[in-house]
Symmetry: C2
Subunit: 355 residues, 2 copies
């Protein structure tokens, strides 16, 4: 989701500078006060890595706060939003290690960049992996520091913390299921949707909205409305990602389209294609997907099968359905008009993005 | 530190059953309510892994609470202590990945056990690493859940959270420095002591005591007394670990003595030996330490150099000095008599343990 698809003048983006400034200042100070020699450079790497993000989750946190009636001084919502972005940074860094990805946001991944700068070749990979695991952990620990130092009414705190803890454990549940399924292309539609729900829908849309809403003291009606909007839209978000992963323009997505294929990810497209295709095409998909050595030509062949089987069209249809569902939920949501307007913009941007 | 070296009737161990029961019940419930299929088995693996620990940190948390005047119902201190153990579990699981260790506590490490149970050989290692990174993350996230649901007076909460956040980020600072130093045996004594201070002394002794003390509402005098005792004793703890790592009995430590050597860890023993030995011995140490292929014969050669250069004796002396310093601090500490007695037992056990 970027300024190309969601007008930069949308209210959604208004807090972005404040969030970025807070993260930059926080990490700069951490680098300047690193307790041991050599760690500053690693912390600055973390700061650089964060600077490339889209801020979907933290911006949704602020939107959730507004949806629950938050008004005026944004300081607390922005601090909580920055905390969410730091936890997400941990997830990305660790995910890239797990997937052995070389690039993210158009740049080398953290473990790769660290390995490249090590001067003893035999130790380089271990150093890259170890340093990146630790930088991810550090991002999560500092996410907690921001969370724990966000001033909030004692009456709201328990629900904010509960939502944050849920968001994180649900993400890991989705990632565990994803990992258990990788290399097994015969996953069911239910399994695939379960991965999408936990790994993306709840984590990326529903929970960030609810964390912000909880900060504003939201009751059950507002929390439920966040779910009614967030889960279908979040599913649409991931389904769009699946499509962009293989059909997107790498210059715009920042990721090679070979990554998803080489890893053998059991995406919505693959699950759909395998349900309808004949044995010859199924054989080709099983051979090509998960093969770490495939190149652009094989990727093009997979794309052609995903298109000719109607899988791409089916996933586009699923996106459209969920987009409608999310919009319909807004008609019933007890949100103020400005929040509804922003959430409509967001829904539009999520489903029609190119990056 | 075990019942062999610290009498089981010591007050220190009294809360152990309550901590273990809470962790077991918490993880059993998590396994039973896992939101996605297949995750239960992973959570039970985490529960099994935790069952083998010594509980030094959580028990020190309860001791800190008593040292700051905590009395009566242990429920809150035990919950906070269990939270500390879960965060430590994350550290251990991630550490084993970073060090590529095969065994821990006499059993396969988590990443190794996961890799062994994968049925596609080509994907097994990636699966083991990925699953273990996620299980470590999950332990940290659930540590937060226990932390966030420990009832505590609002007036004490900020200091408890501050101590927890500090403990975690200091550990990572120590691990980063350790990683930056691995494979570079010419580290200075200062660097080696800095690693020990951050990776162990603060994280294992000082901060757990302070977290418990903060729960009981400790003021600066009690917090400072925790540092005066905890830092020297924690350094002694790590120095003892360095000795046990190469001179210990693997049947009792649960770790192969080849691990530390193969990884090329720049331990206190190595730093000392390199300061005094001649070029021939230095050459052998540089050749052998960090060589992933060395066996028991080479390990025996390293041990012999570490002994003949006086490095082992020098480290034993450092342990003794720090042990004295910790005991002396207790004479001045504003702790109640029962806490002082327990902390004396702990100091004795830390320096004279065999596992």
């Amino acid at each position: 989701m970027s300024a190309e698809t969601l007008a930069v003048e949308s209210d959604f983006f208004a807090p972005r500078t404040a969030i970025d400034d807070l993260l930059f200042a926080f990490l700069t100070e951490k680098a300047q006060t690193a307790p041991v020699p050599g760690q500053s450079a690693l912390i600055l790497m973390l700061r650089d890595f964060i600077s490339g993000g889209k801020r979907v989750r933290p911006l949704l946190c602020v939107t959730g706060w507004i949806a629950a009636g938050g008004r005026g001084d944004l300081t607390q919502a922005v601090r909580l939003a920055a905390s969410i972005e730091l936890a997400h940074t941990c997830a990305l860094i660790h995910d890239d290690i797990m997937d052995a990805s070389d690039s993210r946001r158009g740049r080398p991944t953290v473990h790769r960049a660290l390995a490249d700068r090590h001067h003893i070749p035999r130790l380089a990979q271990q150093y890259g992996t170890g340093g990146a695991i630790l930088l991810g952990d550090l991002a999560l620990v500092w996410s907690d520091e921001l969370l724990h130092t966000t001033p909030m009414p004692d009456a709201h705190r328990a629900r904010v913390l509960r939502c944050v803890d849920l968001a994180r454990s649900e993400l890991i549940a989705g990632q565990h299921l994803d990992l258990l399924t990788t290399g097994r292309l015969h996953a069911s539609v239910e399994t695939m949707l379960s991965i999408i729900r936990y790994k993306t829908a709840k984590y990326t849309i529903e929970r960030p909205l609810q964390v912000g809403a909880a900060l504003a003291g939201a009751g059950p009606d507002v929390m439920n409305a966040c779910s009614a909007y967030g889960i279908p839209l979040g599913e649409a978000f991931q389904l769009r990602d699946d499509i962009l992963g293989v059909f997107g323009d790498p210059d715009r997505t920042g990721k090679s389209r070979l990554d998803d294929l080489r890893e053998g990810k059991c995406t919505s497209l693959v699950v759909h294609a395998l349900r309808v295709c004949g044995p010859a095409q199924a054989g080709r998909l099983h051979t090509l997907i998960g093969d770490p050595d495939i190149g652009e030509r094989e990727a093009a062949e997979v794309c052609s099968i995903l298109t000719s089987t109607g899988a791409r069209r089916a996933v586009e249809r699923m996106i459209e359905e969920r987009y409608r569902q999310a919009l319909d939920s807004l008609a019933l949501a007890p949100f103020p008009a400005d929040a509804v307007r922003t959430l409509k913009d967001v829904a539009e941007a999520v489903v029609h993005r190119a990056a």
